[in-house]
Symmetry: C2
Subunit: 566 residues, 2 copies
């Protein structure tokens, strides 16, 4: 079932829903005119449709494997990677100073979605590199920048991020990897890291590992952590890959999905590394990379949702079974199948709009330096990540369901979307962690950024009342309910917030989804049925979620581990 | 992570929540005293913990395979099957007339849950045979009964059900398999069937296929279908397996999960069959088998939920990460982890109670002949199937989430529960079909059976107000909302009902869940925290679901395939 790049959908959402015109009006992104956007989306879309999508199943069937210490990638992945690099897509968002395209996140996020829809396990590779480029741009010395960034942008070299250890997952500060000063400005890094995405491959000239480690005088916890560039091959004087560094892949994981993406256990034995940023301040640099990656992973969820939706719609349109209420025989005409497809499409639209709105806020924050835009980006990032990936999973689940028994058979591909999507709710910070970020760090302004956004939603709904009174009234009321919920939330103790974090985040996404669907319906009347589906059938869930949020932590702790085990 | 059979939980639910005492008070099931129940559950539980659970991962890693036309089962499955048969568990519910134990469904359903928790892919084998035994008991000739039933009960032979064809899935009436009269009382069956669970194996002396086919003079659609017993080996004069019948396994499917259960494409080439029931009335017999199987599959969902919950709780109790609000380090003490575990436990309890309440109604219908009990069983069957399997999937999903990154790694086993659970929402009638059965066939009484049940729920809540006013008040109000929703529903056209079928079924389950949790909390105060979780945090969803139900079909059809594809 071929993937079709939703280029016109991106144009519509960017132009009519999330206000990309503001981005193009800034000096920094003046080149992102509608014509350029169209050209870039079309070119990337063609690559995804013709070159990358055909690799997806091969990656699943023939996982990357470790042979004598070398990772052998899935059939066609090397060619697919080359096609991505030749198109310049790795360095889309990177500064032109080092050869990047300097495109806004709103556009690169859209391109990343398409690459992810086509072949998510391969897309992880440039996604990691993109995050590394951004971290280096912000925190590396000029020498490191000049050596590494052009090669990462060209795709000659790849980047990885090494945070997790067996005893240090969500609690990064517990890491045990050590770094020691070599006395010549370099460092010796020793330790084991797990869950390293694309920890190695057989198509890039060098693999550049950004590794978190602690210096001997580093304080305990996250405040004593430093960040190092530890390349697989130590660059020689002319900057070419030279001597092999003392690091290697110990093993690859057997995963539920993303078989084409090698997830490595990495061992560093006094490997030579270069400091990125200041000593003991590695977490700041890592956060740059992680924030980028969080939106990127949210968009991976949208990517799977779009691909799974297209796949299921094609099946439902082709599959004949029984007589439907419309008198024809394709199962798409059964009310419950239509319901599932409507939900898949409505959720995909909402998740995409939230992610692109987050990207627009990032762009505006960068281009204007406005604290309000930066706060908007910070607020939307955990929602884009958690809701996008939740929807990736739910839409893929519904995609299997639409296929009926065939959905359980691997050959149809519906199940692969479901397996590949599963980890997106977990990596780059579990969705529980995202929700706690939303109700904690992102509410340290007392809810100001949230209230500003809710006010915009209410103002828009008030305007929309003239045209779509029913839908607009529902969105207004839901935003008002969310405002009250936010007022309740910010007044609570930390752990009561945490207890309600996941339902609050979902309620927020439900209201945002209603808002963006309303905008879409106003801009294009043909979108009203989908907007009505989202607002009348899906958005009402927000009140149950808010009720759940208000229950607080005490009731959770009343369920003791002993009571749970009994 | 070893499985622990929840014997005392079954005792509690059967005795205190779903009223099994009524079953034991009937003449038919007088032997099902509390002592017998305890003894049976303990013995079955021991088998599951020690013999069957250890097979689960082997079945996943080493799928059944087809070699030269012969199915080779997963390592240890033959021994596991023998242990099940030697315990007499295949014939638990079968009539003692042919060697069965004659136990009530309420008890056999509990035993089936434990076998399913331990090794779902193996459990499917006796589950199919149990359904076949019931179909034969009701519809077969005496000669067939005497020949087949004892061997099926002893486990010497196995049974399968053959409904689905490539062009006839949910629409069984479209089948193309043919039967012709041989003139000697036997029939020649020709055609291809797909998705045949345990279509063959290497441990039973014979495989007895119940096959739906159409006689030359059979009317089109379901009314012209007949049912045949088509054994792999034709019994000789002394009833032993004789000549090989002209049927065979064409291929086995590559599935998302349940790798240990061979799912076959079966080919029949003029295979010798014996009529079951009357000519052209095969669907009636098949429905007997399917209704039994629907509750059985619902309980498979509960089985996976229980296993996934135990697995996740153990992980969360063992896994140290960061400092929790309680000052310790096991992740079970984080509010959001506690929330996930609470949801898993609350949903598992509710799904189990619904399934066992359905089983009690089946038993009471059989034992007393009461039309009200039979209507209760008919009403609860689609809810038990759909909600049980939805929860199997949702709880397994949460189980992966609790594991964090380790959940995506196959070695931990969390992902297998998720993969194995997936098809339970699809087979034996998709959950969409179940919901349409609920709002269609099961409401042909104008909602009478539903209103009777809701009245009981309201009466119980009224009584409970004295002790647990807050929880009881919520349950009463939710039941009342569901009554109004039911009144709305039964007044609608068929396709408006179908459009709201899935949300209505879920809303019904939410209210039933609240009711059974309330009963549990009244019977045992230590269960109040879990009941509060279910009633205050989960049950409120019913109103959003009812709102969705009321939207009807028109809005769904406004989403045209063209609009969906654009």
């Amino acid at each position: 079932m071929p993937y079709r790049a939703p280029v016109s959908e991106f144009r519509f959402v960017l132009d009519q829903v999330v206000g990309m015109d503001q981005v193009a009006a800034t000096e920094l992104f003046a080149e992102a005119t509608p014509e350029t956007v169209e050209a870039i989306l079309s070119e990337a879309g063609k690559l995804c449709e013709t070159v990358l999508a055909p690799l997806n199943r091969a990656g699943d069937l023939t996982p990357a494997k470790l042979e004598n210490g070398v990772v052998r990638t899935s059939p066609g992945f090397a060619e697919g990677y080359r096609a991505i690099t030749e198109g310049g897509w790795v360095g889309m968002a990177a500064s032109p100073e080092h050869g990047g395209m300097g495109l806004p996140m709103s556009l690169t996020t859209a391109v990343n979605e398409m690459i992810g829809s086509a072949c998510l396990s391969l897309q992880l590779n440039p996604l990691m590199t993109q995050g590394q480029i951004e971290a280096l741009e912000h925190h590396a010395s000029d020498a490191i920048k000049e050596l590494y960034i052009p090669k990462l942008i060209s795709g000659e070299w790849c980047g990885t991020m090494n945070l997790t250890e067996a005893g240090a997952g969500s609690d990064v500060g517990a890491l045990r990897t050590k770094a020691e000063r070599n006395g010549d400005g370099t460092y010796a890094v020793t330790g084991q890291k797990i869950f390293i995405t694309w920890g190695d491959n057989d198509f890039a000239g060098n693999i550049c590992h950004l590794v978190l480690a602690r210096l001997p005088d580093g304080a305990p916890g996250t405040r004593g952590i430093s960040l190092f560039m530890v390349p697989k091959f130590i660059p020689d004087e002319s900057g070419n890959p030279g001597k092999r560094n003392s690091l290697g892949v110990v093993s690859l994981e057997h995963k539920l999905g993303l078989h084409g993406s090698p997830t490595a256990v990495m061992q560093y034995d006094g490997a030579t590394g270069w400091l990125i940023g200041e000593e003991h301040k590695g977490m700041a640099a890592m956060f740059t990379m992680m924030n980028n990656a969080r939106l990127g992973v949210g968009m991976q969820g949208v990517a799977i949702a779009e691909a799974a939706f297209q796949h299921a719609l094609t099946y439902a349109t082709d599959r004949k079974q029984g007589k439907t209420p419309l008198g024809a025989t394709a199962i798409v005409d059964h009310a419950d199948v239509r319901r599932m497809l409507g939900q898949m499409k409505a959720e995909t639209f909402a998740a995409r709009a939230i992610a692109l709105a987050c990207a627009v806020a990032i762009d505006m924050g960068r281009a204007t330096g406005s604290a309000d835009w930066q706060a908007r980006a910070a607020l939307l990032t955990p929602i884009a990540k958690a809701y996008g990936t939740d929807m990736g999973n739910e839409v893929a689940y519904l995609g299997v369901q639409v296929h009926g028994g065939m959905g359980f058979i691997e050959e149809t591909g519906a199940a692969q979307f479901s397996r590949d999507a599963r980890v997106t709710s977990i990596y780059e910070g579990t969705n529980g962690i995202q929700a706690m970020d939303l109700v904690g760090r992102k509410m340290m302004d007392g809810g100001a950024a949230a209230y500003r956004l809710l006010q915009e939603i209410e103002d828009h709904a008030s305007e929309a009342r003239a045209t779509l009174p029913d839908l607009a009234g529902d969105v207004w009321a839901a935003a008002e309910a969310l405002r009250e919920a936010t007022e309740w939330l910010v007044a609570q103790e930390a752990n009561d917030r945490n207890a309600g974090a996941v339902p609050y985040l979902r309620a927020f996404a439900r209201v945002l989804g209603g808002h963006y669907h309303l905008k879409a319906a106003l801009a294009d009347a043909s979108r009203q049925p989908l907007a009505a589906f989202a607002i009348k059938r899906l958005m009402p869930e927000h009140s149950a979620l808010i009720a759940q949020m208000r229950e607080g932590a005490a009731g959770l702790y009343a369920l003791t581990p002993e009571a749970l085990a009994s």
